[in-house]
């Protein structure tokens, strides 16, 4: 294995972050300070946290508290590799879901003289860069600093090394999952024939649901604390699971069991090695596997006017809306848009059903209903608005070369955002009504409110999405510049508060919310009417801004 090749491949992966729209790429100079800022920041923050806890530990005279902190650390250290394993698995899997659906065989590493070992190692390590590495640096530097006060620096060093190995283990597992998933889904598509598109869509949704149910169950509220307790106390009982061997190595080391430490350490290293070579073998066999062609339609071609045409959209606008609908149900990397409504429905449902601990008291149902009804559609409108232009990727030339006006572009994209988000709101509303049995007046008011928010915030985010679009597609579609997302989210939060404030006022005066100030009573429908006026003004102003941005976007034609 040539290590230089591995390093070069990793750097290719990390440098893909340079391709952000609007950056001058000629005579490119990279600020190393900025490149490592995130990791440096995590390290400084971790050290500060560790020193703060350590100083508190040293300074306190309460021996009971001191013992509690020591016991906590004693439980936390051997659990850390397993916790890092779980979180890294989630991060790397999420990154995998968002990867571009384009064929990767077009990338040079497949025809350059690079071995599968080098390729797999680089891919595995590159997955760790980012969120997994940041979390390890943050936690690692915190426990390193704290361990000085405990006099356990060797243990901390061992823990950090085990955490890094755990992240590698998680990333290798994701690599194996990725290759198998491509091969298995290929076989499923082949077997499902014409239904392959829907099999893929429903399969992806089911995967996301399963993934998030497990994730919430493990990490939400008391779940996270109990997870540490379970890992710390229970990993010895299930010692035969190889993924826990790194944690068991640490636990054995802390108990002073030298022989057991060596056995688990060697077993862990062997397991990582075996898993890595399984990944190499699978990559060599299926790495360049091309999934079979998905046949969507057969038979006679019969073009129709369709519902959109009857609703007053021109053929051009209807064509773009139909194309976008197909994009969001067929492109794997766009399907993550459905995560948000799933999260919003699943979390309270799991809470209600007692999966995440004690079910909430019945009086919280009103807020639960508001959460389910308002959240998904509105957040979806904001997300869709920011990404709906950038998701075009390299195919954006169709807009530049076709006779589409700024007015038509904004109209059809806005219509898609509103239609899609309203459907999600209706579905969530039905779920909310079934779960919380909300009263009719609250149901109607919240439904109107969520539609108002969708119209207003959809226009806001669309205007921003046109300006901040990013058409980079490989290795993952960026769709929108990060700064645009941040600014849009903040702006939407402020404007949503403004639209929702009359309803909050109503809730306060009706006693649903308690504040120490006496406010004049406001009728529910008056509150909704005021909200409607605010939303209409915001929607109008930002629709105009979106139009101006679209005009500039079509003139610039950055291709």
């Amino acid at each position: 294995m040539k290590w230089k090749n591995v390093v070069r491949l990793i750097s290719v992966e990390t440098k893909s972050g340079r391709l952000i729209r609007g950056q001058r790429l000629r005579r490119y100079r990279e600020s190393r300070v900025f490149q490592y800022l995130l990791y440096g920041g995590a390290c400084v923050l971790g050290l500060a946290i560790g020193l703060a806890i350590g100083s508190f530990y040293n300074g306190t005279s309460d021996s009971e508290l001191k013992s509690l902190i020591y016991q906590g650390a004693y439980h936390f250290f051997p659990s850390l590799p397993t916790l890092i394993l779980i979180s890294s698995m989630v991060f790397t899997m999420m990154a995998q879901i968002q990867r571009a659906g384009v064929r990767f065989s077009i990338q040079p590493q497949y025809w350059l003289p690079i071995t599968w070992e080098e390729h797999t190692l680089a891919s595995t390590l590159a997955h760790i860069i980012g969120a997994p590495l940041v979390s390890i640096i943050l936690v690692g530097s915190a426990i390193a600093a704290f361990s000085i006060f405990l006099g356990e620096l060797p243990l901390a060093t061992f823990t950090i090394s085990a955490s890094l190995a755990s992240a590698f283990l998680a990333s290798t597992t994701t690599e194996i999952f990725r290759v198998l998933q491509v091969r298995l889904t290929g076989a499923v598509y082949k077997a499902s024939g014409k239904a392959a598109v829907w099999v893929r869509f429903i399969g992806s949704l089911l995967f996301l649901i399963a993934f998030y149910v497990v994730w919430f169950a493990l990490t939400s509220g008391a779940g996270f604390v109990s997870l540490i307790e379970v890992v710390a106390g229970g990993q010895e009982a299930v010692w035969f699971i190889p993924y826990l061997w790194l944690g068991l190595t640490l636990a054995s080391f802390m108990s002073g069991l030298l022989a057991q430490t060596i056995v688990f350490l060697l077993a862990s290293l062997l397991f990582i090695l075996v898993l890595f070579y399984v990944a190499v073998g699978l990559n060599a066999r299926f790495g360049l596997y091309e999934p079979p062609a998905i046949t969507v339609s057969r038979g006679v071609y019969a073009p129709k006017v369709g519902l959109l045409g009857k609703l007053g959209f021109s053929s051009l606008e209807a064509a773009v809306i139909r194309k976008d609908f197909k994009a969001f149900t067929r492109r794997r990397e766009l399907m993550y848009i459905f995560i948000m409504p799933l999260v919003f429905i699943l979390m309270p449902l799991m809470q209600q059903l007692g999966i995440l601990g004690e079910p909430p008291a019945t009086e919280s149902s009103r807020f639960l209903f508001a959460w389910i009804l308002l959240g998904p559609g509105v957040i979806m409108a904001v997300m869709l608005g920011t990404m709906i232009i950038g998701e075009e990727g390299g195919a954006v030339w169709h807009f530049f070369s076709s006779p589409i006006t700024a007015r038509s572009l904004v109209k059809c994209k806005y219509a898609f955002i509103v239609i899609f988000s309203c459907v999600v709101t209706l579905v969530c509303g039905v779920v909310g009504i079934l779960v919380t049995c909300a009263s009719p007046d609250i149901t109607v008011a919240l439904l109107i409110e969520s539609i108002l928010l969708i119209f207003a915030l959809g226009a806001v985010s669309l205007g921003a999405g046109i300006r901040g679009a990013d058409f980079t597609e490989v290795p993952r579609p960026r769709m929108v510049r990060p700064l645009t997302v941040l600014v849009t989210m903040l702006l939407c939060l402020i404007l949503a508060s403004a639209i929702f404030s009359p309803l909050l006022l109503h809730a306060t005066t009706m006693g649903y919310l308690t504040i120490p100030v006496n406010l004049p009573k406001i009728n529910l429908y008056v509150a909704v009417s005021i909200s409607a006026v605010i939303a209409a003004v915001i929607a109008f102003v930002f629709y105009r801004i979106a139009l101006e941005n679209a005009k500039e976007f079509l003139i610039k034609a950055e291709i």
Partner: protein
């Protein structure tokens, strides 16, 4: 060159810079109605930028662009309605099937329903894509994608075709069909401007050829006029091209590479 009022495309003193790089350097160009016009030049000579300026994809820094009697910078949408365009590396919507993609393009250009159906079916049959039209484009070969891009450019019966490397990746039969189709369209007054690096194709197909180099027009005319300009009577387009662009003395370069 002076416009006689019959040009399909008129460029006057058109210039475009990217920071300190001159992409197009004050060129004048007239392309007549029903002409097959070749735009040649080495890499980064300004061909693609010129084609994009004609289509209104890029705004020139100075000069005027008239396409089919319309100012391309004042009313780009009117120009785009009458133009069929195939970029150098067309990125299609890979999640659509070939048929869905062509249906999408037909609707974008507001092609009437029955005509759209007829034209799509005819073109799919002519370019041997029948039987694969229901498959997602992601499973198509490069040549098949190029065929779909070409059909989408022909679909709305444009008066001007702007084709950047149109025959790239096509099999010999399909390439022949496209060449014959372009010639036939020229007789129906459809103008074609094509850019290609395959000089044999340009020589065989184009009525007139322009050779660009570093953003400037080095030569413009039919084969005979180009031979005269290069002072190479009886020579082919490759020799003329290499002489005019100053890349003729390649023997030394090859020998240096072999060392």
């Amino acid at each position: 060159m002076v416009s006689n009022g019959e040009s399909a495309v008129e460029l006057r003193r058109v210039a475009k810079r990217y920071a300190d790089i001159v992409a197009v350097d004050y060129i004048d160009l007239d392309v007549k109605h029903g002409e097959i016009f070749g735009l040649l030049g080495p890499n980064a000579s300004g061909k693609s930028t010129t084609l994009k300026i004609i289509l209104g994809l890029i705004k020139s820094d100075s000069g005027s662009v008239k396409v089919l009697g319309t100012n391309a910078e004042e009313d780009p949408v009117a120009v785009k309605r009458q133009v069929g365009y195939v970029p150098e590396t067309p990125r299609l919507y890979e999640f659509l099937t070939g048929l869905e993609y062509l249906d999408f393009v037909g609707d974008i250009y507001a092609v009437e329903m029955s005509e759209k159906k007829m034209r799509i079916e005819e073109h799919l049959e002519a370019l041997d894509l029948e039987g694969r039209e229901g498959d997602m484009i992601s499973s198509y070969s490069q040549g098949m994608k190029q065929k779909i891009a070409l059909i989408s450019a022909f679909l709305h019966k444009p008066k001007l075709l702007i084709l950047d490397e149109p025959l790239s990746g096509l099999d010999p039969k399909s390439a022949r069909i496209v060449k014959d189709l372009l010639r036939k369209l020229a007789t129906h007054d459809v103008t074609t401007i094509m850019s290609t690096h395959i000089l044999e194709i340009a020589q065989a197909m184009c009525d007139r050829i322009a050779i660009m180099y570093e953003g400037r027009l080095l030569a413009l005319g039919n084969m005979e006029e180009l031979r005269q300009k290069a002072r190479l009577p009886g020579s082919d387009l490759e020799e003329i091209f290499l002489r005019l662009t100053g890349t003729g003395d390649i023997r030394e370069v090859v020998e240096a590479l072999l060392k």
